[in-house]
């Protein structure tokens, strides 16, 4: 999980490292939409792995919540990009997030029982923290379309809720 977090964090910093960056360094709306959507899809995939592997009720319930919420917000995102006639554009951040998630899934696949539960939930805390930091410092401030910005703001509140929920579950697993 540390591998995934570090790689993804590095990728997000690539975009946010220079506060006085030129306009070219700022992600565009099509890139922002792609990053936000990808982050959601990856968390749904992580949750599906947990649903296959975990037998802990708290963990299973949490994973079900993640599938439900991230699918719901991504459906809103798809409806919005369609309405705005905006084509999400793949980019370095989306790619790094996807690679990091694949590594994390491979690591988690080797674990079972309580060890899996703990690692999955710890990663959920780290992952949401990281996505929230990116939303707050980079994606929301960079978004130009008001409706996209508003959806990202709702997403931030939703994922901050998930972060706290994951911390609560992590506390119960100790």
């Amino acid at each position: 999980m540390f591998i995934r977090s570090t790689t993804a964090l590095a990728a997000l910093f690539l975009l946010s490292a220079a506060p006085l960056a030129q306009a070219a360094d700022k992600p565009t709306d099509p890139q922002i939409a792609h990053i936000a959507y990808t982050a959601g899809v990856l968390d749904v995939e992580a949750a599906k792995q947990a649903l296959e592997k975990s037998k802990n009720k708290e963990v299973v319930d949490f994973a079900k919540d993640m599938v439900r919420d991230h699918e719901a917000v991504n459906k809103q995102a798809l409806d919005l990009v369609k309405k705005l006639k905006l084509t999400p554009e793949d980019n370095a951040t989306s790619k790094a997030l996807t690679e990091a998630a694949a590594e994390e899934r491979a690591q988690l696949a080797k674990l079972d029982g309580a060890a899996f539960d703990k690692a999955y939930v710890a990663n959920e805390v780290a992952y949401h923290k990281q996505v929230n930091a990116a939303l707050k410092t980079l994606l929301i401030p960079s978004a130009e379309n008001a409706e996209l910005k508003s959806l990202l703001e709702t997403g931030l509140k939703l994922f901050q809720g998930h972060e706290q929920h994951a911390e609560h579950v992590a506390g119960k697993l100790k």
Binding site: D65, D69, A72, V73, K75, E153, K157, G161, Q164, H165
Partner: protein, 109 residues
């Protein structure tokens, strides 16, 4: 001849209305809207017997949960209600999104 009874009847109605007004208010329904993961109003004052109705405008499921107490499940785009049975002051939150917080002050009937 006819005006007298009408006038006294009117007085009777006024008296009756005042009596009802003076009696303890009837239990009512207080609506709390949930939109973009915010309970609004965040803080409400109610009394025992009142019903709280949460109207969820989000596409996400929420709960109104009192730690160690009651819980209302509020499905996406639906409403859920709960009748207050005990007096007191309680904080509630959404179990799925613990950053959503509300407060209820419930007075005795």
């Amino acid at each position: 001849m006819r005006t007298a009874p009408t006038a006294s009847k009117r007085h009777l109605w006024v008296a009756l209305a005042l009596t009802i007004g003076a009696a303890p208010a009837k239990a009512g329904t207080i609506e709390v809207t949930i939109e973009k993961l915010v309970f609004s109003p965040a803080s409400i004052e109610a009394k025992v017997g009142d019903t709280i109705e949460w109207v969820n405008k989000d596409v996400f499921a929420h709960t109104a949960t009192v730690k160690g107490g009651w819980e209302a499940m509020i499905p996406p785009k639906k409403a859920a209600s709960l009748t207050l049975k005990t007096a007191g002051s309680v904080d509630y939150f959404c179990r799925f999104h613990p950053n959503m917080k509300g407060h209820l002050t419930v007075a005795s009937p």
